[in-house]
């Protein structure tokens, strides 16, 4: 079966006065139909820019300099604005971290949702409003008919995110990019949104790219994980092997940093140093200066992807836990 989304060799660079910032520097991944891919990384790893690149939301000084993004077999790189207008919302939708920034604060929810419906379908105002109402009901907003007349500020944070999800689902796109949609929410509300997304995706067969820094959320939601560091995917694979026997020292360090996993009170295994500036990446492996296992070749040459059976891949000269993948 052909994947919904196939990204290969994607490079999105920002040409700033301080130099070229290589936010995304050679990213390959694919998402199958109905699959949830967790795209994990810390701030500045390029995970959001990857999402924006897929949606065609890269503005100057940023530019996709290389690579291809194929959505249902259709090439998106180089598509003009009119072309993207036809794709966005219908073939791929995006949900952002802060719905207060994505919903128009001076328009009522019904105006915004009807606009989204009629952007792709020639239907009457009344029919569009009904679809909007049904979408709100589906994401669990109580009394949707009345809530259509409300403004975004009249909703709570969790409810606003539900509205954003309802808008994303209006055209039942085969793929939704979710950029930290639950990060700003409280634990119990986050759980509600995750449950909602799970059941909606199971129902409609929508694939998700779930961008987050929270490994716990990814563990609960995703089928596969791609770990990003400094603009590249350093490790990818199914959730269980990646979290149980990480190949890349960065993944391993990230898991060791999680307070939940250690003995309470014991010092956490920390990754020394901090994330490098994307404008001045070290030669060789970008993680080498922080890596406990770095050797001479790591500093000299950037590692290529080593592939293993089961869609497992790692970008490291000296991967850990190799016994697990050789078997």
């Amino acid at each position: 079966m052909a994947p919904v989304l196939e990204v290969s060799g994607l490079k999105t660079h920002f040409f700033t006065r301080a130099g070229t910032v290589k936010s995304v520097d050679g990213v390959d991944f694919h998402v199958d139909r109905g699959e949830v891919l967790g795209l994990v990384g810390e701030s500045g790893s390029g995970k959001s820019v990857t999402g924006f690149s897929i949606m065609g939301l890269i503005d100057p000084p940023g530019k996709i300099v290389e690579g291809s993004i194929r959505l249902n077999g259709k090439e998106l790189v180089g598509l003009d604005e009119e072309g993207f207008r036809k794709v966005r919302g219908r073939e791929v939708a995006m949900i952002f971290q802060d719905p207060m920034m994505t919903l128009n604060p001076v328009l009522r929810v019904d105006t915004q949702m009807i606009e989204a419906v009629t952007a792709h379908d020639r239907v009457s105002h009344k029919a569009a409003r009904e679809r909007a109402r049904d979408a709100l009901a589906k994401v669990g907003i109580p009394s949707p008919e009345e809530r259509l007349n409300a403004y975004p500020h009249q909703f709570s944070g969790g409810m606003r995110q539900r509205v954003a999800i309802a808008i994303a689902l209006l055209h039942r796109p085969p793929l939704i990019i979710c950029d930290e949609p639950t990060t700003a929410l409280d634990v119990t509300i986050q759980s509600q949104i995750l449950a909602e997304m799970q059941s909606l995706c199971a129902e409609t067969g929508t694939a998700l790219v779930w961008i987050t820094h929270d490994l716990g959320v990814v563990a609960g939601l995703a089928d596969r994980i791609a770990v990003m560091y400094a603009g590249r995917i350093v490790e990818t694979g199914a959730v269980d092997p990646v979290l149980d026997a990480p190949l890349h020292p960065y993944t391993s360090g990230l898991l060791g940093s999680l307070p939940a996993e250690g003995e309470p009170g014991a010092p956490l295994r920390q990754i020394r140093g901090s994330t490098p500036s994307l404008a001045r990446l070290p030669q060789g492996c970008a993680f080498a200066p922080r890596c406990d296992f770095a050797q001479a070749d790591c500093l000299a040459q950037a590692p290529a992807v080593t592939a293993f059976p089961g869609e497992r891949g790692v970008r490291c000269h000296h991967p850990l836990n190799l016994a697990g993948v050789a078997a």
């Binding site: 810390e42 509300i189 509600q192 799970q198 563990a219 609960g220 940093s257 307070p259 920390q270 901090s274």
Partner: protein, 338 residues
């Protein structure tokens, strides 16, 4: 167990929005506007012993930050009393009050909004100890170097401004500033919430190191249960201004008693829970402007009964050191008490 160094006794904090002139005028004509009152903190008792790390957990709007600010002396309580080392803060004279305020320092969530962007690090960290006479002006520089080394920052950066540092380094500057006045008690308000996991681990390790080195006591406020579990000796869970459960950390995470605490713990994402079915708590966190009557949690509680709608549950001891405010542990939720 040693005597508590900090005690809160029925502390409440209300924020009142007074009526504006138009509504006052409308009231003369019989419009009946009333002042809006937020009960941010509603009758909280808490005691912290020397050297203890108390984790204060709750979701947004539960009053945990306000409580932290009351403890740090930034907000005076609207009702109830705070005592520091056996003395009520409202009975202290000016000198004792200054000593208490210096002894309790606060570390904020967002170092970018709590560090003055126009001051160099040497002034941010060094100003307070000079003003309070802990070090002379001439020794400020050496003192700042010592503080920065203590929190793991390169002292050669001390002439820089806050924007020249990364998030993790800024968090360290905030900690150095608090440590510069030799505090005994630190209130950490979401101090690691804005940091990436790998940096968060560094800062948490720093907190634990400082605790050992300086014999500090912490009130650690966070919404992140895994951080609190890792750091705390005792955990206090708040919901809409009230404490719903408090227990030693190990006991609480093993067996939470209050339905809210149970739901909260069950909903924390963990890397060991793969492809799980999220089974969320229904409903939203109510507005603290109009909290529900009785137990604040009853509209969302799967076990609520008629008594919960009418009567406020009090904290009852369940096991030594383990208290919960729920009618389930206090005669049941069934009928109204006579």
């Amino acid at each position: 167990m040693s005597a508590p160094i900090l005690t809160l006794d029925g502390v409440s904090k209300r924020f009142v929005k007074p009526l504006d002139a138009a509504s006052k005028f409308a009231n003369l004509l019989g419009a009946g506007y009333t002042e809006q009152v937020v009960h941010a903190v509603d009758g909280v008792d808490l005691s912290v012993t020397q050297g203890e790390v108390v984790g204060l957990v709750g979701e947004s709007g539960c009053g945990k930050s306000t409580l932290g600010r009351v403890v740090a002396g930034i907000h005076p309580p609207s009702a109830g009393r705070v005592s520091w080392r056996g003395q009520f803060t409202d009975e202290m004279d000016a000198q004792q009050r200054r000593a208490a305020t210096l002894a309790i320092q606060m570390i904020f969530q967002d170092p970018m909004s709590s560090l003055n962007p126009r001051l160099r690090v040497t002034d941010i960290v060094g100003e307070a100890p000079v003003v309070h006479g802990l070090v002379g002006k001439a020794q400020q520089d050496a003192y700042v170097v010592e503080m920065l080394e203590r929190v793991g920052l390169d002292p050669s950066y001390r002439r820089r401004y806050p924007h020249q540092f990364s998030g993790g380094q800024r968090a360290r500057i905030g900690i150095a500033r608090a440590l510069a006045v030799n505090p005994q008690f630190l209130v950490c308000d979401e101090s690691v919430a804005a940091l990436d996991v790998s940096i968060q681990a560094q800062v948490l390790n720093l907190f634990m190191k400082l605790r050992d080195e300086l014999n500090l006591t912490y009130l650690f406020i966070s919404h992140d249960l895994s951080v609190v579990r890792h750091l705390s000796d005792r955990v206090v869970i708040m919901y809409l201004g009230r404490v719903v459960e408090a227990a030693p950390a190990s006991e609480l995470f093993k067996g939470p008693q209050h339905p809210y605490a149970q739901a909260l713990l069950a909903n924390v994402p963990s890397i060991t829970a793969r492809k799980k079915r999220f089974a969320p708590l229904k409903g939203e966190i109510p507005s603290p402007l109009h909290p529900p009557p009785g137990c604040h949690f009853h509209p969302r509680c799967p076990m609520a009964g008629p008594r919960c709608k009418a009567e406020r549950p009090v904290l009852k001891q369940i096991a030594p050191g383990h208290v919960a405010a729920c009618h389930l542990h206090d005669g049941g939720v069934g009928a109204l008490a006579a």
